[in-house]
């Protein structure tokens, strides 16, 4: 550790952000131990899902407002991200430094992130400081300052981050991919903004975002840990009770996938090229989502068990990292993947990947492949529920995806029910690669630009 801790697997080199989000969206898993989920509705009518666990003096809370960077004002991408960086920079009667010091004194942890469709907050507090910590949270949500001097400081940080992203092949390939796939749709805009847009964002923009997007009708809440239903009810009213009833969000169009395959190369002077690929996938509410999820596991989602890992890494040593995933957004489904390989091996690696996807589209999976996938997906179920923070993340994701409070009980049955015929049908639909988009950052060989 003096220098490096090297893991054997590294599946998420590219598009780290989408993958991180995905881990929440992935299917929930039920521990065999009865885990009781309570639906708590406060006096003011605010709903949260609760799992009590009094074995540690910790409360983990996760909640999200629908909205996210797709609600950024026209021409000003980056507002939601900017807000996420400013919520703990002063609120109520505390300026930025006082707020930060108070968080530290209470040992509360508050982490805000903006994704395409949500602004999510992960909050942890110790039982002994719960009341005061929640008061800070309430202030952050209802009376953030967004002082000009603090905004300038965070702006500088965002701009530095964009400057670094510009030279980062992982981020470059991912940004180019979203741009090619979604064009002028909000999903095609960079969530962290651009140098121009971030420079132009004002405190008024930040206040405007909060006013329109922090409300009770677009809020989902999960709580896990050392709190009972009555206490949580009171906490909900004190933290969220003063938020406006209704959000004022603009509609986001459904993405219509069209067009022909595209390949774009961004020349970057690196020894290894980073490749992003993807095409239309399925949204979470698609009835075929579960079969698609199983299929993805076998093709590229299952680490060392996946076909892509076998073909690209295990048999040929062409990459350390090769993977696929389903990335269901609210208004588009994506099937995506990536590989990072020495420049001279890009053509060969991509050919292998395309061939595997074609095979899957044609043949689906064998009975044995399906059975093994089910063994893993059903058996690894409980691994998602071994910390309060992980349970809270699952409870929130299930609410955001509208899967129902009994989803955890149903989930393994839905996996088990999938047949090879289901897989074959879905594979044909999913893996056709009609609108395959590939972006490469590096100095790749064996590939040329297509369809631009």
């Amino acid at each position: 550790m003096t220098h490096a801790i090297l893991g054997r697997k590294h599946l998420s080199l590219a598009v780290a952000a989408p993958l991180a989000a995905l881990s929440l969206l992935l299917l929930a898993a039920l521990p065999a131990n009865a885990m009781k989920i309570q639906k708590v509705i406060s006096k003011k009518g605010i709903e949260a899902w609760l799992v009590e666990d009094h074995s540690r003096p910790i409360l983990s809370m996760q909640f999200a407002f629908a909205g996210g960077s797709s609600q950024d004002p026209e021409g000003k991408p980056g507002v939601a991200t900017f807000v996420s960086g400013m919520l703990d920079e002063g609120a109520g009667d505390l300026d930025s430094e006082a707020f930060q010091n108070r968080l530290e004194d209470l040992a509360a942890k508050m982490n805000v992130t903006a994704s395409q469709d949500h602004m999510s907050v992960s909050f942890q507090t110790l039982t002994q400081n719960r009341g005061e910590s929640l008061k800070l949270l309430q202030m952050a949500l209802t009376s953030p300052h967004f002082e000009a001097k603090d905004a300038e400081r965070i702006r500088e940080q965002l701009i530095a981050s964009l400057r670094v992203e510009e030279k980062d092949p992982n981020k470059t390939a991912a940004n180019e991919w979203f741009k090619l796939a979604f064009g002028s749709h909000p999903y095609g805009r960079p969530g962290n903004g651009t140098l121009t847009s971030v420079a132009a964002i004002t405190p008024d923009d930040l206040h405007g975002y909060v006013r329109k997007n922090f409300a009770r009708d677009n809020l989902k809440i999960a709580a896990v840990g050392d709190i009972d239903a009555a206490q949580l009810g009171e906490a909900l009213d004190s933290v969220f009770g003063d938020l406006p009833e209704k959000s004022d969000r603009k509609p986001v169009a459904e993405v219509s996938w069209q067009g022909t395959p595209k390949q774009r190369i961004v020349q970057m002077p690196n020894p290894q090229s980073v490749v992003q690929f993807g095409f239309q996938g399925l949204k979470r509410n698609d009835p075929d989502f579960i079969p698609a999820y199983i299929l993805n596991y076998v093709v590229g989602g299952g680490g060392f068990s996946s076909k892509l890992m076998q073909e690209v890494r295990e048999k040929r040593g062409l990459a350390y990292s090769v993977y696929t995933y389903l990335y269901p957004l609210d208004h588009a489904g994506i099937f995506a993947g990536g590989v990072a390989t020495e420049n001279k091996s890009v053509g060969q690696s991509l050919d292998l990947i395309k061939a595997e996807l074609e095979l899957a589209a044609r043949d689906g999976l064998t009975e044995e492949e399906l059975r093994k996938a089910k063994d893993y997906l059903v058996g690894s179920f409980a691994l998602r529920f071994d910390t309060s923070a992980k349970i809270a993340a699952q409870l929130l994701a299930i609410q955001l995806d509208n899967l129902g409070i009994d989803y955890i009980d149903r989930r393994n049955g839905e996996i088990e029910a999938v047949t090879v015929a289901d897989i074959k049908r879905v594979a044909k639909r999913l893996m056709e690669q009609k609108n395959l988009i590939v972006t490469v950052a590096g100095e790749p060989e064996g590939i040329r630009e297509v369809g631009l």
Partner: protein
């Protein structure tokens, strides 16, 4: 404050900022009874503890930490060997062997290990550092016997096919490209470590130097395996929904069958790093740098080698001087002078032989790294001259102790903490008295370690400087459906 995930400084090279392995040092059952207030917590905690500690006749140490909230277990084997134990000219072999451990035994075909674990509904992985190599599986509790059988099998019965070895060698070279060669920030850190250690093998990156990696062979891997992989050079850690008795019985039936290797298990003696005499500077100019970046490392002791209280004082010092949005360096460079867009400090004390104290800042606008460095030095001098305030000390202790409680929520964190400590010369008691020791730190101690270790003679300063060549070229296109971007 933003969580700058996209900014450089990969977690594996600056553990103290990673929030993963090293930050998470924790106590066992003590946590449950902890009061947060340092005053209360200073009372001696009850001797009861969650961690069970046993040893097999063949020397394998066993640690069990029950956590019955979910019916799952984390099973880890930690070998007391890592990159710093490699023979001259064979850099990367410890990590290469870790990859090859998945290539089969008499009972398990090449590449099948992870597939079998997946078939059990489990997840597995492994990682290598300078002092340790660790393998783990996470499974439903009833699958524990199977993974113990498999892990113990490969402790003694690895079989390597020449072709598999050569293919995997390409994989580790790709891994090096991903982690280091594609990333000028990593390259700078690699060069800084090489400049820091004059004699000690921490000089050499765990991933290896590319020229040496290209020559690593099957014979090299097997020689390393035979020399270091043995029950008396390992620690077994199981956390989760288990009973210590049950784990001990399973361990005897599996790992217990493997004979000890008399050649290992004694003190780990590496070349001693001499007292540093001269400050060093490393400058990397690269067209792939997005923002000018400043880094500095100081050579310090680790938790294992520090005189009593010093490692804890260094941890508290790091928190006060640079671990929050109101820390000394953040306030000076980011809030007041506005020369940096982010600034932080960290202490990494988890190694066997030495530790490091580090500073990190990214330039704001066109600020010069020289100015950032001068500000950092002013902050450091101020702490050395006048120490820290009582409020800062209390706040830092509160934060460090709360982190121990938060980490107790995760059986994986627990397994890492116990495993890492026991594999690098520390004891269960060290792990479980950490909260007490942090509490005992005084302002005088914090000032004293600052004066003793934040001495320029002990340091390497790194500058990462952007140069105009090598800009990414995205050709503007006519038509297409792309939105305006940048």
């Amino acid at each position: 404050m933003l969580q700058l995930k996209s900014l450089r400084t990969p977690p594996y090279s600056n553990p103290s900022r990673s929030g993963t392995l090293l930050k998470v040092q924790l106590l066992g059952a003590l946590l449950m009874t902890l009061a947060l207030s340092p005053a209360d917590a200073a009372q001696p905690p009850a001797p009861s503890q969650l961690a069970f500690h046993g040893k097999l006749d063949n020397g394998l140490e066993v640690v069990v930490v029950p956590d019955r909230r979910a019916p799952v277990v984390t099973h880890m084997v930690w070998y007391r060997v890592g990159g710093a134990d490699e023979p001259q000219g064979k850099s990367g072999i410890a990590h290469f062997l870790e990859h090859l451990m998945f290539k089969g035994t008499d009972k398990i075909a090449p590449g099948e290990f992870s597939k079998i674990v997946a078939g059990l509904g489990g997840q597995d992985n492994a990682f290598t550092a300078q002092d340790i190599t660790s393998y783990f599986q996470r499974v439903a509790k009833e699958k524990l016997p199977q993974v113990m059988e498999m892990e113990s099998d490969r402790m003694a019965n690895l079989r390597l096919d020449e072709k598999e070895v050569l293919t995997e060698r390409k994989v580790i070279l790709e891994e090096r490209r991903s982690r280091v060669d594609n990333d000028p920030g990593s390259l700078l850190q690699e060069q800084m470590m090489a400049a820091m250690y004059v004699a000690h093998p921490y000089h050499t990156p765990v991933i290896g130097w590319e020229t040496e990696m290209r020559k690593l062979s099957r014979a090299d891997a097997l020689a390393f395996y035979k020399k270091f992989y043995a029950p008396n050079n390992a620690v077994l850690v199981v956390t989760g929904d288990v009973e210590p008795d049950e784990v001990m019985a399973l361990a005897k039936a599996t790992y217990g069958k493997i004979p000890a290797n008399p050649e290992v298990g004694g003190p780990r003696v590496r070349p001693t790093e001499p007292e540093p005499l001269a400050e060093r500077r490393v400058i990397l100019r690269d067209g792939r740098v997005g923002k000018a970046t400043f880094e500095r490392y100081y050579l310090t002791p680790s938790s294992t080698t520090a005189p009593p209280g010093e490692a804890e004082a260094l941890q508290i010092l790091a928190r006060i001087i640079g671990s929050s949005a109101t820390s000394r360096v953040y306030n000076a460079l980011v809030r007041d002078e506005k020369t940096a867009s982010s600034a932080s400090a960290w202490y990494s004390g988890m190694a066997l032989d030495t530790g490091r104290f580090g500073f990190y800042a990214i330039a704001a606008g066109d600020a010069k790294l020289e100015d950032i460095e001068a500000s950092m030095d002013r902050v450091i001098d101020e702490v050395i001259r006048n120490g820290v305030t009582p409020e800062e000390l209390e706040r830092a202790k509160t934060g460090e102790i709360a982190n121990l409680i938060y980490a107790s929520d995760s059986q994986q964190s627990l397994a890492h903490t116990y495993g890492w400590n026991l594999a690098t010369g520390r004891t269960i008691e060290d792990v479980e008295s950490r909260q007490e020791r942090l509490n005992a730190v005084t302002r005088e101690q914090v000032q004293a370690v600052a004066a003793k270790y934040l001495d320029r003679k002990r340091s390497v300063t790194g500058y990462l400087i952007p140069v105009p060549s090598g800009l990414a070229k995205v050709q503007p296109r006519a038509g297409g459906d792309a939105a305006t971007f940048h």
